[in-house]
Amino acid sequence: MKIRIASDEHRFNITLPNGLLLNSVTAGMAAAAVNKYAKGILSYEALRALFLEVRKSGHHFKGMPLVYVHSHDGDEVEIVL
């Protein structure tokens, strides 16, 4: 998975293997973080299932931008599978 953030001042490109980013450990960490602010929205099990589905999609749709945001002041964020 590639994460690209670009603004006038900064430019970041982060490339991480999906297996490293989306696994049961990171699902637990993400669920804990989400529940800290919005209790009950996402369980660990739900997040793990979602992460697994994103990983599967990564095989089918490798290179496809999942999210692309271009703000009115020119900042860009992109997440590529």
């Binding site: 590639k2 979602l50 589905e53 290179g63 999210v67 692309y68």
Partner: protein, 167 residues
């Protein structure tokens, strides 16, 4: 409507690659890519399928853009498997923000099964209300029954536009 060159340029930038890298992947010179992007020349027809594969978009989207596909119901023998379909959403805010989402259908299905609220619009405006009314399980059912193309276009009073496609 944006030109083919503009779309090639946009997709190349989205992938964060240089003209040289695209040229190398397509087996052409970087000058050729520059000419495509500036609408001085067009890619050879044999390069269109590899280009669309490389950018992860359909040939139709590469040639015609994302906003020009009418809705249609495919015959059973032409239908794609749900695992190969993508739900695309384009949100253009009146303030000039642009959000594009390409959600693989299996991911949408998993999101529904886990009870994840798929659409969360920040403000409690008419557009947010309209988006919350969208029945994503029905969309999955349509996709399974061969519906593809532009599903909906919502224009809010404040000028925000949301478009949704199945591809």
């Amino acid at each position: 409507m944006a030109s083919l060159g503009t779309r090639i340029n946009e997709y190349r930038r989205r992938r964060n690659i240089t003209q040289e890298q695209l040229a190398e992947a397509m087996g052409v010179s970087s000058q050729a890519v520059s000419k495509w992007e500036n609408d001085i020349s067009c890619p050879d027809i044999s390069l269109l399928p590899p280009l669309s594969d490389y950018f992860g978009v359909s040939l139709d989207v590469l040639l015609r853009g994302e906003g020009n596909k009418p809705i249609q119901i495919l015959a059973e023998n032409q239908r794609k498997d749900l695992n190969q379909l993508v739900l695309r959403m384009i949100i253009n805010s009146s303030e000039g923000d642009l959000v594009k989402l390409n959600l693989p259908m299996p991911l949408v299905k998993a999101g529904l099964q886990t009870g994840l609220p798929l659409v969360q619009m920040g403000d409690n405006n008419s557009l947010g209300d309209a988006m919350r009314q969208i029945d994503f399980s029905a969309i999955i059912q349509w996709a399974e029954n061969g519906v593809i193309g532009r599903l909906l276009e919502i224009k809010s009073a404040s000028g925000d536009i949301v478009e949704m496609f199945i591809e």
